[in-house]
């Protein structure tokens, strides 16, 4: 059969090879990320075109910066003219302000980079899960290990995962293992956080004396929730990062639909209005709580390095049940 024509020229006949020439399959931990991330824009892309508003904003910011610089220089000159001590003091203040501003900027940039990294990982994971190829999974596991290198609470799970992965697992299996061993624990904690936040907003809205107060509380609580969830998944966003997350979330809240089918939304709305008929305040509380829950679950989707599968998607069901029992507790 050997003399039959074979389709490709690169075919190699079966043979034995000297063991000295063999090496374990290399684990390419630092290979450049493949094009997989770009292929799968799983979520809405943001700010594709820098619009005119962005130019305006940039120019204004630059103007303010220049003005600040002039003023500061002026201030320094004047204080040095008054007395050396005052000059030194002001100079020191300026120095501290400048340094901390730079530090903050650096931190923000790093947190943004982490967010982007997670996005990239999620894209890769999505691509790995549908191919049955081999060799990329280890790299992915390594990248994830580095992302969570400073998380002592995840080290046992990571070690367990490393123990389980053998050379016989293909990429999809490696990603599934990571999902099950490392991320499921995070999911549980994140879900708990979301549940608590939803309850908080519901209660505060129901009990607060003025609408302004609960608006402020809901905003603050949502922002805090987003940061906590993102932090749990290793994104640790700064201020800019959280705002950005929140913005993306608002864009995705409607589109991604969280886990809700039209049926669920209808039930939710109906349930909400039923409760509202009983008591406007409590009804508002429940609606606000549900909104917070959706924000939290969307942020889970956005911050998770591996996309949720059909069996482990977080659902609003449990939170809804919890919230619906609130009126009884409050009234």
């Amino acid at each position: 059969m050997t003399d039959r024509p074979t389709k490709d020229r690169t075919w190699v006949p079966p043979m034995e090879i000297d063991p000295a020439h063999a090496a374990p399959v290399p684990v390419e931990e630092d290979a450049p990320p493949g094009s997989a991330a770009e292929r799968l824009p799983a979520l809405l892309a943001e700010g594709q075109r820098p619009g005119i508003g962005r130019w305006l904003f940039g120019a204004l910011a630059a103007l303010v910066l220049v003005a600040l610089g002039f003023d500061t220089a002026d201030l320094l000159q004047r204080s040095f003219a008054t007395s050396l001590a005052l000059g030194t003091l002001v100079a020191a203040l300026v120095g501290v302000a400048g340094i901390s501003a730079v530090a903050m900027l650096v931190r923000e940039l790093r947190s943004l980079r982490r967010l982007r990294r997670i996005d990239q990982l999620r894209g890769e994971a999505g691509a790995l899960m549908v191919t049955a190829a081999q060799g990329e999974g280890d790299r992915f596991a390594g990248a994830l290990g580095r992302l969570y290198a400073d998380r002592p609470d995840l080290q046992p799970a990571l070690a367990r995962m490393k123990d389980f992965v053998t050379d016989a697992h293909d990429d999809a299996e490696v990603v599934r293992l990571i999902d099950r061993e490392v991320l499921s624990e995070l999911d549980r904690r994140a879900y708990q956080t979301v549940l608590l936040a939803a309850r908080d907003t519901a209660i505060v809205t129901a009990l607060s004396p003025a609408a302004v107060v609960d608006l402020a509380v809901v905003l603050w609580r949502n922002l805090k929730l987003v940061r906590t969830v993102a932090g749990l998944y290793g994104a640790r966003p700064g201020y800019v990062g959280s705002l950005r997350l929140l913005r993306r979330m608002l864009a995705n809240l409607a589109v991604a639909g969280v886990t809700e089918s039209a049926h669920h939304v209808a039930v939710e709305a109906l349930g909400g209005s039923l409760v509202a008929a009983l008591s406007t305040r409590v009804g508002q509380g429940v609606i606000n709580g549900l909104l917070t829950a959706r924000v939290g679950i969307t942020s889970m989707h956005l911050c998770r390095p591996v996309p949720f599968g059909p069996h482990n998607r977080p659902s609003l069901g449990k939170i809804r049940g919890e919230l619906m029992s609130l009126p009884k507790q409050v009234l």
């Binding site: 039959r4 079966p14 043979m15 090879i17 081999q134 995962m161 293909d170």
Partner: protein
Amino acid sequence: MRLPNLDDLTTAGSRLVERAGGVAGRALVESSVRLGVTGLRRAGKTVFTTAVVDNLLRAGRLPFLDVVSTGRLQAARLQPQPDPDVPRFQYEEHLKSLSGPDPRWPEPTRGISQLRLAMRYRSTSALKRVVQPTAILNLDIVDYPGEWLLDLPLLNQSFAEWSALTLELAGRAPRAALSADWRAWLGTVDPAGRAEEELARTGARLFTDYLHACRNADGLSLIQPGRFIEPGDFENAPLLTFCPLPGAPRGRGTLWELLEERYDAYRTVVVRRFFAEHFARLDRQIVLIDVLGALNAGPDAVADMKRSLELSLEPFRHGSSGWLDWLFGTKIDRVLFAATKADHIASSQHPNLRRLLDDLVADARRAVRFEGAQVDTMAIAALKSTETVMAEHEGQQLRCVRGTPVGRDRETVLYPGDIPEMRDVFLRPYQFMPFKPPPDAGADGRGLPHIRLDQALQFLLGDYLA
């Protein structure tokens, strides 16, 4: 549709009682599941069963088994045998031969054996947890020869039908040479002649020789009836002295009638008994297949394997749909076909191996899925005895396997060839080599190393352990 006879009715009745009891008891505390393990020609049943038991007992290498990965499995332990008349699966002995510094593959087992394993776990269902915080699942692993599974279709075949099929098969390429003696003898006898014991015995002997030759030949897996090879208690019994005859049914007192009677006796005493006592009581089934061995042996072996697989799927066609099937058919609702010894090829080839197996069972599988039982395929290795490594050959990076071949002392690196699509399977030669079990397997106390055993178990038992 085959009409149930009286025997069937009585056994079905007792099974009904048993099942009703099981349903009532299941809701409360203990549940049990019977897992059938079988395999076609040296597919590694014994190793599989040993590895399953060892891994469940130690639970250290089963990340894809939900009950383990979610931390709900508390402990598993071996239990006393439930059925007094079925030999015990010699787990300890087989494990000893597989592990240790100088491991060997266990001797192939003949006949049926069984082992009971109890698993204590926390249930996910809130209702069950209220009744009992920890549930117990009794897993009965029933290990029986693949030939017995291939015997089951005989229940639906008359002597004439079976004769025609067997004769047709025996006349085909690889078997024609092996069956030459027997078929030559068939030419000299007259089926309508007087029934003589001597004739029946000669025919049976030649037929048995042919079956033995098939078994020893490289890669033939369709051996029917199974007890001709492994007679057990029936050695020299009249019900093993028959062979297929050509032509149509003949009258009374003829050789044909004698052999037909014996064929029917075989069906009643051997096949139906196996069906009622063991097969009908199984809940899940795994069929192990040595696809690589068949590929090694050539196109005829693969064709033969495809036929065996189709035959072996026959008993599952009755699924668990109608009430009549529930009484007379099997209650097996999940069947896994697993290509074993996946560690003999580089891990990047596993998807191809699975696809090949998929192709082999495709036609039969469609019918089964339609009628009830859920069928899946997988490439597994019960005991992982090699490692995938990279080697360079004339500037190409090849994925090879490294291990110690059987009969040698030193490790080697083998490039076994890659597994192509079904249609050009035999464009290229293969060289799969048997490897020795790895030294000190499972010495770390986490269970024997394996490939996808956990996923197989999740498919077979996952819902029982939910």
